[in-house]
């Protein structure tokens, strides 16, 4: 008997595995794998993982290390402690404007663009005839690149001399004097707002589609129950639908924050992120990937951006982790 046992055990997991609890099943299923299979699995995930870590996470780490140096890309690397950071917050004139523009972008998206996208989703969630036409129109800007969005809005916002539509319309209809026509993208006191309008045009549709998909997945019996209890539409949304949508809400917050921190293309197209349109992202490239080649200094800006980005990333991951463990 005793010498038969190992053999008898070998096929057993497959038979027993069928009905047992998952953790038990998983452990046993593992034993079904041959050594070759295990090697193959390791390869399937290992190769992409190593490339990903090298290209994304090692470069992130390199940014952190380089931020403590004054490397210009040619001379040997010399560590200078926190000098880049001190210079950044004390003497560098564009750091605080860039940071505040990024924060403004974030606040504008969180308070206006994202809620507006949610609002559209809620409106379109009713059984409307031709709802798909509206959806298509609101979503269309999302498939355009931010570079194209920049040009399309430049046609609207260009100054009078550049044949911008808005200024031409305002002057032609006599609403403003030709001498007072604003330069929407050029005037540093207003251009960040014009850019935010253009960027929101794309962001709203994105949020709408995400939210609409979430709304469609809400169990209709919840709404019926709320209606029977006498709740009106607004009450149903605030007290029943919105809380059930918690997972989507988190995704939307993360998308909104990340998009605000990544903002780059549209500003780069307009004026390379200068003259009122400074952003963290453009400061990095303007300093490090340019004639100046201030790699250490540019990296310090990248580290500030990284630190801010880690907030939503950690928030999101801890959330995923929690649902995963449940």
């Amino acid at each position: 008997m005793s010498e038969l046992e190992p053999r008898a055990q070998a096929p057993a997991p497959a038979v027993a595995g069928a009905g047992v609890v998952t953790s038990e099943k998983r452990r046993r299923r593992y034993s079904l794998l041959t050594r070759r299979d295990k090697f193959l699995i390791a390869l399937m995930v290992g190769v992409p993982f190593v490339i990903f870590v090298c290209l994304i996470w090692m470069t992130t780490l390199a940014s952190v290390v380089l931020s403590f140096t004054n490397w210009d890309g040619i001379q040997p690397i010399k560590f200078i402690g926190l000098d880049n950071y001190t210079q950044l917050i004390t003497t560098y004139p564009f750091f605080w404007p860039a940071l505040s523009h990024n924060m403004l972008w974030l606040i504008f998206f969180v308070c206006i663009a994202t809620p507006f996208g949610i609002f559209l989703a809620v409106l379109l969630d009713r059984q409307l005839k031709g709802s798909w036409i509206y959806q298509s129109i609101f979503f269309l800007p999302v498939v355009l690149s931010l570079a194209v969005v920049g040009f399309i809005w430049e046609l609207q916002f260009a100054p009078l001399a550049g044949n911008g539509f808005i200024d031409s319309a305002l002057v032609s209809t006599g609403l403003i004097n030709a001498n007072n026509a604003p330069d929407w993208f050029g005037d540093p006191s207003i251009n960040i707002w014009s850019v935010l309008v253009a960027a929101s045009w794309r962001h709203v549709g994105y949020i709408m589609v995400l939210y609409l998909a979430g709304l469609k997945s809400v169990d209709p019996s919840l709404r019926e129950a709320a209606a029977i209890d006498g709740a009106n539409e607004r009450q149903t949304f605030i007290h029943v639908v919105f809380p059930v949508m918690a997972p989507i809400n988190v995704v939307i917050v993360v998308v909104t924050v990340i998009e605000s921190l990544r903002a780059f293309d549209i500003v780069y197209i307009i004026n390379h992120g200068k003259n009122g349109l400074e952003l963290m992202s453009t400061l990095i490239t303007n300093n490090a990937i340019s004639e100046a080649s201030l790699i250490g200094f540019g990296s310090a800006i990248a580290v500030v951006l990284l630190t801010i980005s880690l907030v939503p990333i950690v928030l999101y991951l801890s959330r995923v982790m929690r649902t995963e463990n449940q």
Partner: protein, 303 residues
């Protein structure tokens, strides 16, 4: 407010009429918004059809009705820039990048979601978190790396990663893999466990299970992500502008950068150029609208 109050109260005789009115108001409001949203594109199209001289001659500038409308600007743009070349560059980068990403990410997701080992969740987190980083955080070391890493001749014509299609394909594939692994592993978790078990008992190896069992079941997810990835890579501006030096190697979206600042010269040409660059993704969207929506939804379904 009063409409809401009416809904909340008991059903009244006027209820139906009020509801109809409410509907009408909603339609008018939505149509108004839809027009505002469509306006910048409609206007861009309108401008692109007008001869520039006509706008300049008009005292009201672009705020005017057309005398002539034709495709002259498109023809000029096509002739004066190397447009086919830019489209070609986009295809050379985007097609391999999309296929590679789908292949690599589905394999990694398969290994992560279908088998249990110690660091499953950690590996998934590292992929997901990496994809959420702003690309500008890594661009400086990446740029240097691309300029220092030697690449042998058949793969690179300057001995580097920088200014090469290969370098662009590599960073797109890597960056998007992070997101795709996350989406695919969520999708695969919803597939029945018994399928893999049954195949295993039949003696199928891991790769056979991936290729013959899991991958066919993932077809909807592959289609959705493929569409989404192609659009994203097509629309990429940042990587291409930073990592491709020569204008004639840049994909179409990044090549638009050459237009920047030229709107003072001729906005009608800018309009035609940006629409030409936008047309492929718009057509793709019209044909595969469902894929876009389900792709975005897959990404947010869980977590």
């Amino acid at each position: 407010m009063s409409l809401h109050a009416a809904m909340a109260g008991q059903r009244m005789p006027h209820d139906r009429a009020r509801r109809r009115l409410r509907r009408a108001v909603l339609y008018i409001f939505l149509t108004f918004l839809a027009f505002i949203f469509a306006w910048p594109l409609l206007y861009a199209f309108y401008t692109s059809l007008r001869p520039y001289g006509e706008i300049v001659a008009n005292p009201n500038g672009p705020f005017s009705l057309p005398g002539t409308l034709n495709f002259g600007n498109y023809i000029t743009f096509w002739n004066e820039t190397d447009l086919p070349r830019f489209y070609f560059n986009t295809l050379v980068v985007a097609v391999p990048a999309v296929l590679l990403t789908l292949w690599i990410a589905s394999m990694a997701a398969f290994a992560i979601s279908r088998f249990s080992w110690r660091f499953n969740l950690l590996v998934l987190m590292i992929f997901t978190a990496g994809n959420l980083l702003p690309p500008q955080v890594i661009i400086v070391p990446l740029y240097k790396l691309y300029n220092m890493l030697p690449v042998p001749a058949p793969l690179s014509d300057n001995g580097l990663m920088y200014d090469q299609y290969l370098g662009l394909i590599l960073i797109h594939t890597t960056f998007q893999t992070g997101f795709c692994v996350f989406v695919f592993s969520n999708y695969m978790k919803t597939l029945s466990k018994e399928l893999v078990e049954a195949a295993m008992i039949d003696g199928a190896g891991v790769f056979t299970i991936y290729y013959r069992v899991i991958l066919p079941l993932c077809r909807p997810a592959l289609a959705a992500m493929g569409t989404l990835l192609f659009t994203w890579i097509y629309n990429d501006f940042f990587w291409a502008v930073m990592l491709i030096e020569h204008g004639d190697k840049r994909p179409i979206t990044a090549a638009l950068n050459n237009l920047s600042g030229s709107y003072f010269v001729d906005p009608t040409l800018v309009a035609a150029g940006s629409l030409l660059a936008a047309i492929p993704t718009v057509v793709l969207y019209m044909l595969l609208q469902r894929n876009f929506v389900s792709g975005l939804t897959l990404g947010s379904a869980k977590g």
